[in-house]
C-alpha cells in the first residue's frame, strides 16, 4: 500500500476525529440541546377565551414564607390557617389576631358564632377571637378532614380518609355521616383518589359535595340522600380535568360554584346547574402544574384564592 494514500487516509481520519469531538462539545451546550421530543403538553387547553374572563385580580395578601393551609371568609374577616397558626385579618389586610394551633391544620370554616378548624383527624372549635373553645373527639384514625362547611346549627365535614361526609352539631356532637353509596352500581359513593374532597352549603341551605373522582357536584339532603348531581369531565375550559377535580370549591350567594382545579390550575364559576358561567383565573395566572388554590368568597362576590405556590391570598373581583 503506498505511503501517500495511507497518509492522506490518516489525515482524513484525524480531521474526522477532531470534527466529532467538536460537534459533540458544541451540541451539549445548554443553549444548543434539543428540546424534549416526548413533551407532555396541555398548552392547547391553557389558552382561555379572554371574553370568558369576567374577573380581575385586585389585591394580594402576602405572608412571607409560611406553610399556608386554608382560608375562610365570614363576618367581613378572613380566617387563614397556616402550619400551626390561625391568623385573622381584615379585608384591608390588617392583622387582627394570631393564635397558635396545637398541630398542623387542614382547613377552616367560620360563621357568625365561631371558627371551626379541621386537623388531620379531628375538628376544633374556636371563638371569633381565635381562642380555642373545644376540641371535638376524633371520628377515627384513618379520618382526614379536608373541608368544613357551617350551616347555622350544623357543621359538615368532608372526611377524605374514610370517603364520607360527617354531620356535626355546632356543639361538637356527631349526629350522622354518609358515603353517598347506593346499592345500584352507578352510584359507588365518593371516589377520592387523592386527598382533595370539598363541600359547601349554599345560601339556600343546600349541601353540595364534590365527588372529585367523578368530576361531579352532588347535592345531598342533610341526611345524605342524593337530591341531584351534575358532572363534567373535560380538559377544555367547560369541564374538570385530571383524575380528581375540582379540588376546592366555594358557593357564591346566587348559588353558583367557584371551582379550583389542580394539575392545570384554573379558577372558574359554574352555574348551580353546571354550565360554565365565567372564568376567574386562567392557567396562565398560576405557576406550572401545581396545587389548586383554596377558595373563599365574600357575600359581595369577591373571590379569595389561597395560592400555595406564591404563598399569598389573591383577591379577584368582577370586572367593572
Amino acid at each position: 500500500m503506498n505511503r501517500k494514500l495511507i497518509i492522506s487516509i490518516l489525515l482524513v481520519l484525524a480531521i474526522i476525529i477532531v470534527a466529532l469531538v467538536v460537534i459533540d462539545v458544541l451540541n451539549s451546550r445548554p443553549d444548543k440541546r434539543p428540546d424534549n421530543p416526548y413533551e407532555y403538553s396541555v398548552d392547547q387547553f391553557k389558552s382561555v377565551d379572554s371574553t370568558l374572563i369576567k374577573y380581575t385580580e385586585t389585591l394580594d395578601f402576602t405572608f412571607g414564607d409560611l406553610d399556608l393551609r386554608g382560608i375562610a371568609f365570614a363576618n367581613d374577616r378572613l380566617y387563614l390557617v397556616e402550619d400551626n397558626f390561625l391568623v385573622i385579618f381584615s379585608t384591608e389586610g390588617k392583622k387582627l389576631a394570631k393564635s397558635p394551633l396545637p398541630e398542623s391544620p387542614t382547613c377552616v370554616a367560620a360563621s357568625s358564632n365561631g371558627i371551626y378548624i379541621g386537623f388531620a383527624n379531628h375538628i376544633a372549635q374556636y371563638n371569633l377571637d381565635g381562642l380555642q373553645i373545644k376540641s371535638w373527639e376524633s371520628p377515627g384514625d384513618s379520618t382526614l378532614i379536608t373541608s368544613l362547611a357551617v350551616q347555622d346549627c350544623y357543621v359538615f365535614a368532608a372526611d377524605a380518609g374514610k370517603r364520607r361526609v360527617l354531620k356535626y352539631m355546632t356543639n361538637g356532637e356527631l349526629t350522622g355521616s354518609f358515603t353517598g353509596k347506593r346499592d345500584s352500581a352507578d352510584l359507588h359513593g365518593f371516589i377520592i383518589p387523592s386527598p382533595y374532597f370539598d363541600l359547601a352549603v349554599n345560601t339556600f341551605g343546600e349541601l353540595w359535595v364534590v365527588n372529585p373522582g367523578q368530576h361531579a357536584f352532588e347535592n345531598y339532603t342533610f341526611n345524605g340522600e342524593l337530591r341531584g348531581f351534575w358532572e363534567k369531565t373535560a380538559m377544555t375550559i367547560d369541564g374538570f380535568s385530571g383524575c380528581c377535580n375540582p379540588a376546592h370549591m366555594a358557593v357564591l350567594s346566587d348559588g353558583s360554584f367557584v371551582t379550583a382545579e389542580k394539575g392545570m390550575v384554573r379558577i372558574k364559576v359554574h352555574k348551580a346547574s353546571g354550565e360554565l358561567l365565567s372564568v376567574v383565573a386562567p392557567p396562565e395566572a398560576f405557576e406550572g402544574e401545581t396545587h389548586a388554590p383554596d377558595l373563599a368568597v365574600s357575600p359581595a362576590g369577591d373571590i379569595y384564592a389561597l395560592d400555595f405556590e406564591r404563598k399569598m391570598i389573591r383577591v379577584f373581583q368582577l370586572k367593572k
Binding site: I17, P30, N36, L144, E287
Partner: protein, 418 residues
C-alpha cells in the same frame, strides 16, 4: 420577596418536598376483592465483591504480563492475555471503571470535600503505576482494554518521523492536565466522555462516540495504537513512571549481537538504536543548550501560569452552571424561550439569578487556581521535553525505550540470541 428568596436559596430541597406533599397517597382504596397491592421491583446492582474480583483479575493479568515479558519472554503469552483483557475488561465488564478514567475519580476525591472514592477505583488507579515502577508499562502491554483492542488491529504500521512522534507526545500531557482540571472542578469527566472504544465494547452508545472509536481503529491499522501513544493521559503518567522501572523487558536475553533484526519489529518505534559516532554532538554546544533549556524551564512555567490564569474564564465555560449563568446574563431574552429545557427548569426551580451567578463565580474561582497550575505544568512539560532532546545517553545496544515501550514483547521473537 427578597427574604423569601434567601429562604428559597437556603432550603430548596424542603421546598421541593413541600410542593409534593399534596401528591402523597393517604389511606389506600378499600378493595373488596382480594387484590394484593404489588410492590415495585428493585433489581440489585452488581455487588462490591465483584468489583474487588475485577481488581484481583487486574492484579493477576499484570503479574502474568510482567512474567511473560521479563522472565518467559513469550509474545504469545502476552497476546493471549491481551485477548483475555479485551474480552473480560472490554466486552464483559464494558470497560467501567477503567484505569484510565480512574485518574479523574482520584483528582475529584482530592479536590471535592464531599466526593468519596471507592477503594476498588483507587486500586484500579494505583496498581498499574506500582507495577510500572518495577516492571515497566506492563499494564499497556496486555491489561488495558483500550490498548488491547488497538493492539489486535495493528496491520501495516508506517514509521513516523521521530520529531513528529516527540511533538505529538505532548498531547497526552495536555489531555491529562485538562482532564484533571475538569474533574477537580467537578465539571465533567472528559476522559470517559471521549473514551473512543467503550462504545464498541458495549456495542451500544452515543453514535458519535462509536464513530470516534471506529475512526481510531482505522487509524490504528496504519499507526500502531494511536490512542495510546498520542492521547492516553494515563499513558503519559506511566511513561514517566516506567522510566524509573526497576526491571524492564529487554530485547535481548543476554548480550546484543547488533544483528539489527529487531529494528523492524517494534510497531511503536520504541527501540532505541545505538548511537553512531558521527551523530555524537560536540559536548560543548550540547551542554550550552542544556543550560539554556534549564534556564528556560522557569520562564516557560511562569509564562504558562500567567496564560493559564488568563484563560481560566475561557476554560470555565465548560462547566454547565457557569455556561448557564453567562447565557442568562448575555441573552436574557432566552428566558422566554419555552423550548429551552435547561433555562426553563432553572427558572422554575425558584433559584434566583444572583444565586446562580454566585455559584458560578465560586466555580470560576476554582478554575482560576486550577488553570494557572495547569499552565505552569504544561510549561514545565514543554521545557523538559525540549531539554530531554539535548540530554545525551550513551548506548551500544538495541534497547527498548523504557518510557515508550509497552512491553508487548513483539521484538523478543526477532532476537536470535538464545
Amino acid at each position: 420577596m427578597k427574604w423569601l428568596k434567601i429562604i428559597l436559596f437556603l432550603l430548596p430541597l424542603t421546598l421541593a418536598f413541600h410542593n409534593l406533599d399534596a401528591q402523597q397517597r393517604f389511606p389506600k382504596p378499600e378493595f373488596h376483592t382480594h387484590y394484593t397491592q404489588p410492590t415495585p421491583t428493585t433489581p440489585e446492582p452488581r455487588g462490591v465483591g465483584m468489583e474487588f474480583f475485577d481488581v484481583l483479575v487486574l492484579l493477576v493479568v499484570l503479574s502474568l504480563t510482567s512474567w511473560f515479558a521479563i522472565r518467559k519472554r513469550s509474545r504469545n503469552g502476552i497476546l493471549l492475555l491481551t485477548v483475555f483483557s479485551a474480552i473480560y475488561f472490554g466486552f464483559y465488564r464494558n470497560g467501567c471503571i477503567c484505569t484510565v478514567g480512574s485518574i479523574q475519580n482520584v483528582a475529584l476525591a482530592l479536590a471535592d470535600p464531599k466526593y468519596v472514592i471507592s477503594l476498588y477505583a483507587l486500586l484500579f488507579f494505583l496498581l498499574p503505576l506500582i507495577f510500572s515502577l518495577f516492571f515497566g508499562r506492563v499494564f499497556c502491554g496486555a491489561a488495558c482494554p483500550l490498548g488491547a483492542i488497538q493492539d489486535l488491529l495493528i496491520f501495516n504500521p508506517i514509521t513516523i518521523p521521530a520529531w513528529l512522534r516527540k511533538t505529538l507526545g505532548f498531547i497526552p500531557y495536555l489531555y491529562l492536565g485538562l482532564a484533571v482540571l475538569y474533574a477537580a472542578t467537578g465539571t465533567e469527566f472528559i476522559i470517559c466522555r471521549y473514551d473512543p472504544f467503550i462504545g464498541i465494547y458495549r456495542m451500544n452508545g452515543p453514535h458519535l462516540m462509536i464513530y470516534l472509536g471506529i475512526a481510531f481503529l482505522l487509524m490504528g491499522l496504519f499507526i500502531a495504537r494511536p490512542y495510546c501513544r498520542f492521547f492516553c493521559p494515563y499513558g503519559a503518567i506511566l511513561n514517566v513512571f516506567s522510566r524509573f522501572s526497576r526491571r524492564h523487558l529487554s530485547v535481548f536475553p543476554t548480550k546484543c549481537i547488533q544483528c539489527k533484526l529487531c529494528t523492524t519489529s517494534c510497531p511503536f518505534e520504541a527501540i532505541d538504536f545505538p548511537d553512531e559516532e558521527k551523530s555524537k554532538p560536540d559536548t560543548k554546544t550540547n551542554s550550552r543548550k542544556f543550560i539554556l533549556y534549564l534556564a528556560l524551564i522557569p520562564v516557560l512555567m511562569l509564562a504558562g501560569a500567567w496564560i493559564g490564569s488568563k484563560s481560566h474564564v475561557f476554560l470555565s465555560k465548560a462547566h454547565p452552571d457557569v455556561y448557564l449563568a453567562e447565557l442568562l446574563i448575555s441573552h436574557p431574552e432566552l428566558k422566554t424561550d419555552s423550548k429551552n429545557i435547561d433555562i426553563q427548569t432553572f427558572l422554575a426551580s425558584g433559584k434566583s439569578l444572583e444565586t446562580l451567578v454566585a455559584e458560578a463565580q465560586v466555580i470560576r474561582d476554582k478554575f482560576k487556581t486550577g488553570s494557572w497550575i495547569l499552565g505552569a505544568f504544561l510549561g514545565l512539560v514543554i521545557g523538559l521535553m525540549a531539554m530531554n532532546q539535548v540530554i545525551f545517553r550513551r548506548r551500544e545496544d538495541y534497547q527498548a525505550n523504557k518510557g515508550n515501550c509497552y512491553s508487548c514483547a513483539r521484538c523478543l521473537d526477532y532476537c536470535p540470541v538464545e
